[in-house]
């Protein structure tokens, strides 16, 4: 049950989610009876089903064992998630242009050998493009640039 074994980990994940959902829904939502199905019934069934589905992967001994987890690419992952978070943080207080610039720069830094000048051009072009489409064409209520203080 080596910790990097992908098969075992996926089984744990599935069963884990299944157990969590089943227990949470059993505790919080009434199951009802079969002729008056309550809100908890379906989630609990699905959760229990997930538990069961995960078990073969946890206990199996067939030859797919030994496949280890592929490498977690931390830099791109962090860059993408941080960039999107920046967009979420900036869009309402500061507007579209700061949010999109932040996203482009931060996610752009996710790859080795990024070029600040390229990113600057890209963010300018994207700012124009998205303002035309989202604010101009689709009339989504978004500020281009504001200062909240």
């Amino acid at each position: 049950m080596w910790l990097r074994d992908r098969e075992w980990l996926s089984g744990c994940f599935i069963t884990g989610v299944g157990v969590a959902v089943t227990l949470y829904c059993l505790a919080n939502y009434p199951l009802g009876t079969f002729d008056d199905v309550g809100p908890g019934m379906f989630p609990v069934i699905m959760g229990a089903f997930m538990c069961v589905c995960g078990l073969p992967s946890i206990f199996s001994t067939h030859s797919e064992r030994g496949a280890t987890l592929s490498k977690i690419e931390l830099r791109p992952l962090a860059a993408v998630l941080a960039g999107i978070s920046a967009c979420a943080l900036f869009i309402q207080p500061f507007g579209l242009i700061p949010a999109s610039t932040a996203l482009v720069f931060i996610t752009g830094m996710g790859r080795k050998g990024f070029d600040l000048l390229h990113l600057a051009f890209l963010s300018a072009a994207l700012a124009i493009f998205t303002s035309v489409i989202f604010i101009g064409l689709l009339k989504v209520p978004m500020e281009l640039l504001t200062w909240p203080f």
Binding site: R6, L9, S10, F13, I14, V17, G18, V21, Y24, C25, P30, F34, D35, V37, G38, P39, P43, M46, F49, M50, C53, H62, S63, E64, R65, G66, L69, E73, R75, P76, L77, V80, L81, G83, I84, S85, C87, A88, I91, Q92, L96, S100, V104, G108, G110, R111, K112, G113, H118, L119, L122, S123, L126, T130, I133, F134, L138, V140, P141, M142
Partner: protein, 505 residues
């Protein structure tokens, strides 16, 4: 025969006016453009663009909306094939094979054949609309809660057997998707489920967020380092590479025919639609194919069949809307709303009282489909060049459009945070080699399935016998069981054939 010709003439008269043609073109063009942008699908485009139609005549308004509807469907296909991002849940069925084809440089062929397949699928749907609307409405009425439940279960089983991985894990993903779909307010009991005190989740998680987060983010994170200095496909894109080979045509012909049939069937049932039709088509193509191991790696049937089915279903979805006044999907509901605003009440009396509207619509659907084909085939070269954009420019653009598209759903940043969360989940799934496609189908069908399940049990007063006593329902459940057993047997056979790990001496 006489009446059909009279009807066609009436229809053509209203459809071929310059005004109608113009708005059809605008609708198709705008729709395709918006559909390509990740994060924007038919529902968002229709919601955001339909105020423009208030000032138009009813026929023009509907024609423009129908154009937007088809355009976004096709735009979604473009995004799935070129970027690996499903534009709508229905596109999930083609993302794997379509994107694989793009990576091999065959994107032009994929786009070309899907355009043709979609046109044929739409045409078959329209013919059915013209000829068989009342009969189809009659069959659709035979489907009640137990049948719908069986149908959706079948769709989910189809989705789990469609993935190349072990079916047990796919089924687990389906269940996970259903659970995610149940997040939000339960209309039957008034309880808000799994929202963990976030009121924004009252309406549930939006499907756009699931698609973008689970597919888009994970795919992009995985590709950033791999494609760092190049593009998705860096070979030369010649005109010749966009023309399908004879073998491609031969394989697609069957897929298109089957897809059109499957899609026409599923589209007429209100509440099911493009997604389930596309997944079923993919399943059928896989079972029928002479080379099933190609699926997942660029099998043309796996792209053309589902897209044809999707379009046929989108087309026949108009049948229950127009003849019964029951919208088949949220997008149909918007179109229905627009019709009512313009004073046209769809229903059984529409055909007899306003024949020029009904037949005008039918004809303009055809013209819309044709226009989609004509407009997009020359543009395929342009779209495919998108692939040669260096990935370092492509991926921030895609991410930005996703975020903004999602933000425009509710003007709330909560949705963007949800993408972060789901992106992490999507990446975890990717690391664990758990398939996301069955999850999204479970997500879309889960709540509906629960509703039908409850309703069926309510009618039968708690007895499960209702599912097996009704013939159609029993048949569907039997089919599910057969597919499942088949899939489990196949996977066990596959496991036995894998080389056993040998001891190193």
């Amino acid at each position: 025969m006489d009446t059909v010709i009279t009807n066609l003439t009436i229809g053509l008269e209203s459809a071929l006016t310059p005004e109608t043609l113009l708005f059809c073109f605008i609708g198709v063009f705008l729709g395709t453009l918006l559909g390509v942008l990740p994060g924007i699908g038919s529902l968002i485009s229709l919601s955001l663009l339909f105020p423009f139609t208030f000032h138009l005549s009813p026929t023009s308004a509907i024609v423009m909306l129908a154009g937007i509807y088809y355009g976004t469907a096709y735009g979604g296909s473009i995004a799935s094939i070129l970027l690996g991002l499903p534009g709508t849940p229905a596109n999930v069925a083609v993302v794997e094979d379509g994107y694989a084809m793009a990576r091999k440089g065959r994107a032009g062929i994929a786009l070309f054949l899907t355009a043709i397949g979609s046109f044929i699928g739409g045409s078959v749907g329209i013919i059915l609309m013209m000829v068989a609307s009342p009969a189809i409405a009659g069959i659709a009425l035979k489907f009640a809660a137990p049948e719908y439940f069986g149908l959706m279960l079948l769709g989910l089983v189809a989705a789990s057997t469609m993935s190349s991985g072990p079916p047990v894990k796919a089924l687990a993903m389906v269940a996970f998707g259903i659970i995610l779909g149940l997040v939000g307010l339960d209309t039957n009991s008034g309880t808000a489920r799994l929202i963990f005190n976030n009121l924004e989740l009252y309406d549930g998680i939006s499907v756009v967020i699931i698609a973008m987060g689970l597919f888009g983010i994970a795919e992009i994170v995985g590709s950033i380092s791999r494609l760092s200095s190049t593009s998705v496909f860096s070979g030369r894109i010649t005109f010749r590479s966009m023309i399908p080979t004879r073998q491609d045509w031969r394989r697609s012909a069957g897929a298109i025919a089957r897809g059109a049939g499957i899609g026409s069937f599923f589209g007429t049932l209100p509440g099911t639609g493009g997604a389930i039709a596309a997944f079923m088509s993919h399943l059928v193509e896989r079972r029928v194919s002479k080379n099933p191991e190609e699926f997942g790696d660029g099998a043309i049937e796996g792209v053309v069949g589902p897209e044809t089915a999707n379009n046929a279903a989108d087309q026949t979805a108009f049948i229950p809307t127009m003849t019964l006044g029951i919208p088949g999907s949220a997008s149909m509901a918007i179109i229905l709303g627009v019709l009512i605003i313009h004073g046209i009440t769809p229903g059984p009396r529409l055909v007899s009282e306003h024949p020029e509207v009904f037949w005008g619509l039918v004809m303009s659907f055809w013209i819309g489909n044709l226009m989609l084909l004509v407009l997009n085939i020359p543009l395929i070269g342009l779209w495919v060049r998108l692939l040669s954009v260096p990935y370092k420019f492509l991926y921030p653009s895609v991410l930005l459009c996703c975020c903004l598209g999602v933000y425009s759903l509710n003007s709330s940043t909560f949705e963007i945070w949800m993408i972060v969360l789901l992106g992490m989940l999507g990446y975890v799934l990717r690391l664990l080699e758990l398939q996301a496609a069955p999850l999204i189908l479970g997500f879309v069908l889960g709540p509906l399935m629960e509703e039908h399940f409850r309703r069926a049990l309510l009618v039968s007063r708690g007895s499960f016998k209702i599912f097996v006593e009704r013939p159609i329902s029993a048949g569907l459940l039997a089919l599910c069981a057969i597919l499942l057993i088949f899939a489990l047997l196949q996977s066990r056979r596959r496991k036995r054939e894998l080389p056993q790990p040998t001891l190193k001496l």
